[in-house]
Amino acid sequence: MPSTITPINTERDKKRHLDDHEGGHGRRPPTDKRTGGGGDNDNWNDRPQGRRGPREKLSRARLGLFFALAGDLMFFVAIVSAFFVAQNSSHIDVYNRYVNQWLPTAIPPILWLNTAVLILSSVTMEVARRSMFRETDVMDEWLGIGKPLTRRVLPWLVATTALGLLFLAGQAVAWHQLNIQHVFFSSNPSSHFFYLITYTHAIHLFLGIGALIAALTALYASRLLETRQILIDCTAWYWHAMGLFWIFLFALLAFFQ
């Protein structure tokens, strides 16, 4: 008979450090997350919120954005589900014929070009994002040598904004081309969805461009490095998500009509 049936908490060997941020997946760089790697045994989790080391707010904002994008994904999933339902629904008309009115919309070829532009804009965005986290630049800023970080990131952000606007212009051209062929929003079930999907995605990109402009403004207006990092990082993830959504939506419109 053991003396204690249930070991007391201090004796219990924890399988996993629940107060670690590292969930055992090995996804993080090998710094001790609990001490910041300084060797001073200062466990950040013992500190109150807001004082748990750098990037605490950033990880919060990223997580919030992740949930927002999950909701956004459901928005598009709902529309794509409706797409397949409408594509496969039909009715029996007065002459007892089985009628499916779906006429596949031939997509304007310029969409291929637009897709390439959007992928390219994701690349420039990623360059801007990664440049925000270059430590040498951060040291330069802290020492007050200047704003090399801003100078490094700015061109890429501007390029992303320009490419985003180019994509939207390309979409407008595509809508115009379809209008010339007398394919309108209300023409046909298929065109309903073509316009609905491209419109809603364009609205999302508009929001993304708004976020880019906010990030550009913050580069100059905000004195906190963390704020700038959050804005650019979250804008980048949002932009990538919109690019990814577009690739799926474009594939749907191009190959599943």
């Binding site: 919030g64 949930f67 023409s187």
Partner: protein, 572 residues
Amino acid sequence: MTHLFSTDHRTIGRQYLTLALIAVITGTLLSLLMRTHLVWPSWKLPLHGSILPEDYLSLVTLHGTIMLFFVLTTAPQSGFGNLILPSQIGAQHMAFPRLNAFSFWLTALAFAVLLSSPFVYEGAAISGWTAYPPLSAIPSAGPGQGLGMDLWLASIAIFSIASTINSINTLVTIIRLRCKGMTWDRLPLTVWGWFTAALLSVLAFSVLLAALLLLFCDRHAGTAFFIPPGDQVSGVIHAAGHPGNGSPLLWLHLFWFFGHPEVYIAILPGMGLTSMVLANFSRRPVVAYRLMIATTLAIGVLGILLWGHHMFVAGLNPFASTAFSITTLVIALPASAKVLSWIATIWRSRPHYTTAMLFSLGFVSLFITGGLSGPILAQPILDEYLHNTFFVVAHFHLIMAMAGVFSLFAATYYWFPLISRGRLLSERLGRWHFWLTLYGAYNTFFPMHFTGLAGEPRHYAQLTQIPNAAGHLLAATLPLNLHITTSAFILAASQLIFLVNLVRSFRHGEATPANPWQATTLEWYPCFNLPTEPLMAHRPPCQYIVTASGDESFLPQWIEDASVDIKSIKRE
């Protein structure tokens, strides 16, 4: 003005609760008008005149929309969620305070837009809170389908965005801002309720937003997502301008994919609170704590998978009906597990019958009563007969409306010191309020089972002067309907006690010690402002000791070294 646009989570929580209180008073008054009209169809409303069928339907629509969105979603999830949740997990604030304020003002805007709709030309929407097409998809279909419907769509769209933002805030707060030692299995069950409800909100409200967008396109952009070919309204064929194979069924799918999770969003926080309150006042740990977490999550997951049970008679594929029937019956298992845990928690204990405890017991009672008709309605063959009768109205009013409101009352009586900065609601008035409300709730909604079984349909403006056998059937329900109306007035009148209690106690309520209920969760940490040092959770909640002689002691989560090990004491 700084206070009005505050970013403090407690202020925002109070603002949400104030909004919900205004909404619940509005919705109750509308329902009284409906009940009055059903019993006395010739009664003339002052300043308005006779209540026409379209007026009655717009009352139904506004009542359902206000109660579902602005009371049962707003108060538990946004109101008490904001007010209590950060304190309960040892956080100083929500993850995104400014977004939090933004989402409240969006909600207020949505409410204002909805309240403006009765005053436009042709009146408010009349399609019920479900806004079924094809009528709702055609602006010229009749009264209330024009601008009133557009305002309804706008209001709900704004509310969806606000609710999504609030839920993101809740999720990130729970995941990232827990204090040291507040592990997932030490989270109070209320937090688990808020967490699951927030997950459902993020997933479901986006789908509603998509559906609203499609409906808006049908109304104004000439599309035909929901308008079937050859659709006739009042002899006019409307499909000409809307080419395609639209189907109202698509709306039903999209809407109920949101709508069913929505009713769980309304009740899950209440379930969590009930567990904690029952445990606290019977001085017992929650029975099967981890299983209760699991059932909360299971109800969340299953709640997404059974939207089709609202569509059994709408032309759904019968095989799909079978699948949805099964998932609906399966959700009775975690729900029953919860009820068992509630009963086991209070079993053979000596509860303190405070008002909060009484309302939680009332919640359990109403949850059982309303829940038992769930598996009945979950079977397509029974739903064939019962669909759109008052049997359904009885079911969801008992399990969602009344149980939800009872949990809100329990929350108000329990957490009032945190709302009013250290005052208690009067227990004497509270007991009167409870018993009268319980009487009113049961007598209002339970007889609806019988009128429903007798064939009284929902959304019927008038039960008298109908020819033939149907008229005889409906006339036979009138005595019961009179009883229901009387009880509804008793139910509404007994809420005046609550309002008086609220107003008086805010000013002159009994001042309370820091932890009046001897609760164990962190929101009762003994100080009414922000804690000076960072909080730490040292143990799971609900640790109480009752010795054989009846001496009680309790171990809150924030106390570090317990001189006595709770597990070493045998329960009597």
